[in-house]
């Protein structure tokens, strides 16, 4: 185990990979029924060897696994912590440890669901992103020498729009700390959140065309350290849809009015901001100056 010995010198190819795996039961159950997509068991069979591969690439590499549930998020595995060696012959010790932790996590997630009546169907990506960022901040603050961190989101379920603000905040904080967010989307649709996340933070966005070749995608695209990435020809993202939706009719618009106080977006002119209550109609000149007509176009 690459325990944090104070004398070790980190080269720029030492990575800390924080992997977020989606454990949304709704997504995985439907995906199990669908013959063309992966089941959760297959998914884990692809991800665990990938984690192993990262640790093999460099002795100092570090892997942290975080589960993204529908009601909670949790650290599942951290390769820098000491672990008991109890290999049972069937699989490496840390595989079985991860599986045991996952099982506990899922049952805990289920219990939380029972307590909470307002059930959401989307995974708490904002929560797991925050956990990942906190972990990386802890590493940053531990000392001047640290591995190069990056986050890899393995997301299946569709975006949870109610997390928009949380996710955007996480994205911007990652951008500020220069942590790339890579994303590998296993669901049927592209994830607008992760597209933006990877675009803003300079990570890679990938939606595998053949989910059963997931391990290959992971090892070919996401395994290399940040330093080596500059030498590789990695897949370029398709256009990212940056359009926002208006607050009044929830329509996706490419031109609209923005409240100069709280930056709420409206598709037509209002006398008063419905979000912060600012009055736009103090005088004719004020009205034209407080409301900016801005254009945002999709880049695709």
């Amino acid at each position: 185990m690459a325990s944090a010995a104070p004398t070790k010198l980190y080269a720029d190819d030492v990575s800390l990979v924080v992997v977020l795996i989606d454990t949304n039961p709704f997504f995985w159950t439907t995906s199990e029924k669908n013959s063309s997509s992966l089941s959760f068991a297959d998914f884990i069979s692809h991800v665990l060897p990938f984690l192993n591969a990262i640790m093999l690439l460099n002795q100092l590499n570090q892997v942290v696994l975080i589960a993204t549930g529908v009601n909670s998020c949790e650290y599942i595995y951290d390769s820098s912590l000491p672990h008991q060696q109890s290999a049972d012959g069937k699989m490496p010790a840390f595989y079985s440890e991860i599986l045991t932790k996952l099982e506990q996590f899922v049952s805990k997630d289920q219990r939380l669901a029972k307590n909470d009546s307002s059930l959401t169907m989307s995974s708490l990506l904002s929560g797991s992103l925050s956990l990942a960022l906190c972990y990386i901040q802890k590493i940053f603050r531990a000392g001047p020498l640290h591995p190069q961190p990056r986050i890899l989101c393995l997301q299946g379920s569709p975006d949870g729009p109610e997390q928009y603000v949380g996710i955007m905040n996480a994205i911007f904080s990652a951008q500020r700390s220069m942590i790339p967010i890579d994303s590998c989307v296993l669901g049927t649709q592209n994830s607008a959140f992760l597209q933006q996340a990877s675009h803003i933070t300079g990570g890679i966005y990938q939606k595998p065309a053949y989910p059963d070749g997931l391990f290959q995608y992971l090892s070919a695209v996401f395994a290399t350290d940040l330093q080596s990435r500059s030498f590789l020809r990695l897949p370029k993202p398709p256009g990212v849809d940056f359009r926002a939706s208006c607050f009044c009719h929830k329509k996706t618009i490419d031109m609209g009015y923005i409240c100069s106080v709280c930056l709420s977006i409206f598709c037509k002119h209002h006398k008063k901001c419905s979000t912060c209550g600012s009055n736009f109609n103090q005088s004719q000149q004020d009205a034209s100056s407080t409301l900016d007509h801005k254009r945002k176009t999709p880049e695709a």
Binding site: T23, P25, F26, W28, T29, T30, E32, S39, F40, A41, D42, I44, S45, H46, L48, P49, M91, L99, T100, E103, V106, S107, Q110, A113, L119, M121, P158, D159, G160, P161, E162, Y164, G187, Q206, P208, A209, Y210, D212, G213, F215, Q216, Y217, A220, P235, K236, P237, P238, G239, V240, S245, F247, K250, T252, V261, C262, S264, T275, C276, G277, E299
Partner: protein, 599 residues
């Protein structure tokens, strides 16, 4: 018809001595008749074939004029610059006129009832030269110029009207900059010894004298004081050179001795009091908030080969003659200060006396300006107080802020959710629909089941299956075919992938279409017959681009044709839009005209 006759030498290139003869220029052509009729250097060339003219700088060795053809040209050497300038101005005028006329004539063909002959625009030589220069520098512009102005689609005036900014910036750039002091030190005033006698010669030019005045205010002062009342200018400079010579030989003892004898000489040899007082004045004005530590990292004197190594052996240590020594660093600093200050004089160099006086005046002006600048000292003290402010002692700087009130943040989040759900529905929400009929219990159960199965059975083995593996390899390794690679900046890549010639051609087509469209749209609304004719002309030119673009697309190989087609489409659309607008305008004017005609 103007005619210029001038004695000149015709040269094949600048190296050859040239054939003497007479150059005769008329509005249409120029002829050269050699003095010796036997030589074959007789010329008779129409100005139409001349593309431009170049000439040697005034003050250079030869007075040359080069009339350039497409390639090569005719070089004439004149006896003096005034002759050359006469010819040069004449040529510039003729060429300028020819250019406008050639496009103007085309105009006249198209528009018979043109009200004002625009080509009669009188252009100054300078304006003409500026245009020529711009065309020479910018091959892109030249191409457009050739394509449209020469072919008569646009007139010269129209072409340049949209580029006034370019011309103006060119004009302002050429006029503003003034030559500053050279950055070389005055070491140039090297004494010349002729070896035989003991005589030492210094040569001073007005340039050098100006620099001496600027760098050594004491000499400047002395010059104003002594010349011409006490001694002649020649005497003055002799004395100065003598002093310089003493310095150069580093003979401070001799310098002291000489200075004791001759009080005028002493002026040159002693430390410059004026300089010293000026330095003190500057020190008083130094901004106290200046952070001296800020550039401490720039110190590179400790690096090898930087700084001046002096061994100190030659510098004898006699304190009494200290006055008569100048250190190299003093000289360097002074020189640097003067060079940075720049040349503020507008006086023609030449007469030493006027230069000295002008310099004195400008100095005076600076001083008085500084003295009267109370504002500056006030600003300085304000800055000091701001920089040295102690935060703890300041009162709270409360700005009148209204706090942001968000009524209910859920408004926002809920709206986003509803919106996204709708978006999912639009995107064929297969999984969503399936989700809805799943109870959470069942879903969680099946997930736990899978984990249990994994624990019991172990991982899928092997995880890389050959048939899938190949497909994945292909998608990852063939980026160009993959839809993931037609992203935002694929456009540039497409352009880069095309053969060089095609790329240039495409870019050129874009440029020319843009140029035409710019003129086209700027002609609306059509108010005069002239604009009407212009639009007609432009319309013709635009419709001619169709076959060109199509030919370009069809000439491509099949693998590029699609991409070129994609690039060409927006061009065609832009042209379509323009032509459609022209059509609808025509129709509306027709229908508008009918009732008038009826009534």
């Amino acid at each position: 018809m103007a005619v210029v006759n001038m004695r000149a030498k015709y040269k094949v290139n600048t190296k050859t001595p040239g054939v003497p003869g007479v150059l005769k220029m008329t509005d249409e052509k120029f002829t050269f008749n050699p003095n010796d009729p036997r030589t074959s250097a007789k010329l008779d060339v129409g100005f139409r074939s001349i593309k431009g003219h170049k000439f040697s700088k005034e003050g250079s060795k030869l007075a040359l004029l080069n009339l350039t053809l497409e390639e090569g040209g005719y070089i004439f050497e004149f006896d003096n610059f005034s002759d050359r300038n006469t010819c040069r101005d004449f040529v510039a005028k003729v060429l300028g006129k020819l250019q406008t006329v050639s496009s103007g004539k085309e105009d006249a063909k198209v528009v018979s009832e043109k009200p004002v002959p625009l080509f009669d625009e009188q252009l100054s030589t300078a304006e003409m030269e500026r245009r020529m220069k711009l065309l020479q520098e910018d091959s892109e512009l030249q191409k457009l110029h050739k394509q449209f102005v020469m072919s008569g689609v646009l007139t010269e005036a129209e072409f340049w009207a949209t580029r006034k900014k370019l011309l103006n910036s060119e004009a302002s750039r050429s006029s503003k900059q003034r030559v500053g002091f050279k950055s070389t030190m005055l070491a140039d005033v090297r004494p010349l010894t002729d070896g035989r006698t003991n005589k030492v010669t210094f040569s001073l030019t007005p340039e050098i004298i100006h620099q001496i005045f600027a760098e050594k205010p004491a000499v400047h002062q002395a010059f104003l004081k002594f010349v011409p009342n006490k001694m002649t200018e020649k005497n003055f400079w002799t004395k100065y050179c003598r002093a310089e010579y003493l310095h150069r030989t580093k003979n401070s003892l001799a310098a002291a001795a000489e200075a004791a004898e001759d009080e005028e000489l002493a002026v040159f040899l002693k430390h410059d009091d004026i300089l010293a007082s000026e330095a003190r004045r500057k020190i008083r004005r130094v901004d106290p908030t200046l952070d001296m530590a800020a550039d401490v990292g720039d110190d590179y004197l400790h690096l090898p080969d930087h700084g001046i190594l002096r061994d100190g052996i030659k510098e004898s240590n006699d304190a009494e003659h200290e006055h008569y020594k100048r250190t190299l660093s003093q000289d360097l600093n002074r020189h640097a200060a003067v060079v940075l200050e720049g040349r503020t004089l507008d006086v023609e160099l030449g007469d030493t006396r006027t230069v000295a006086e002008a310099l004195a005046r400008s100095k005076q002006g600076e001083l008085s300006a500084e003295a009267s600048d109370d504002n500056a000292s006030w600003r300085q003290s304000e800055r000091v107080s701001r920089m040295t402010e102690i935060e703890d002692l300041q009162g709270p700087r409360g700005l009148p802020i209204a706090s942001l009130c968000i009524k209910d943040p859920r408004d926002y989040f809920d709206s986003q959710q509803a919106n996204a759900l709708r978006a999912l529905g639009d995107a064929g929400g297969g999984p969503k629909a399936a989700n809805c009929d799943l109870s959470p219990e069942k879903a969680f159960e099946s997930l736990s089941q899978q984990i249990l199965k994994l624990k019991a059975v172990g991982l899928d083995d092997p995880i890389v299956k050959p048939e899938v593996s190949l497909k994945v390899m292909n998608t990852l390794a063939q980026p160009s075919g993959d839809k993931f690679f037609l992203g935002k900046d694929s456009q540039d890549e497409v352009l880069d992938r095309l053969p060089h010639g095609t790329r240039e051609e495409l870019l050129h087509h874009w440029k020319s279409i843009e140029e035409l469209l710019r003129h086209f749209w700027s002609s609306y609304p059509i108010t005069t017959a002239y604009l009407y004719a212009k639009v007609d002309r432009l319309k013709d030119a635009l419709s001619k681009t169709y076959p060109k673009l199509e030919a370009l697309r069809d000439s491509m190989q099949s693998d590029y044709r699609n991409q070129v087609g994609l690039l060409v489409r927006p061009m065609l659309q832009a042209v379509d839009a323009a032509l459609a607008h022209a059509e609808s305008e025509k129709r509306s004017t027709k229908t508008g005209a009918r009732p008038n005609g009826l009534s």
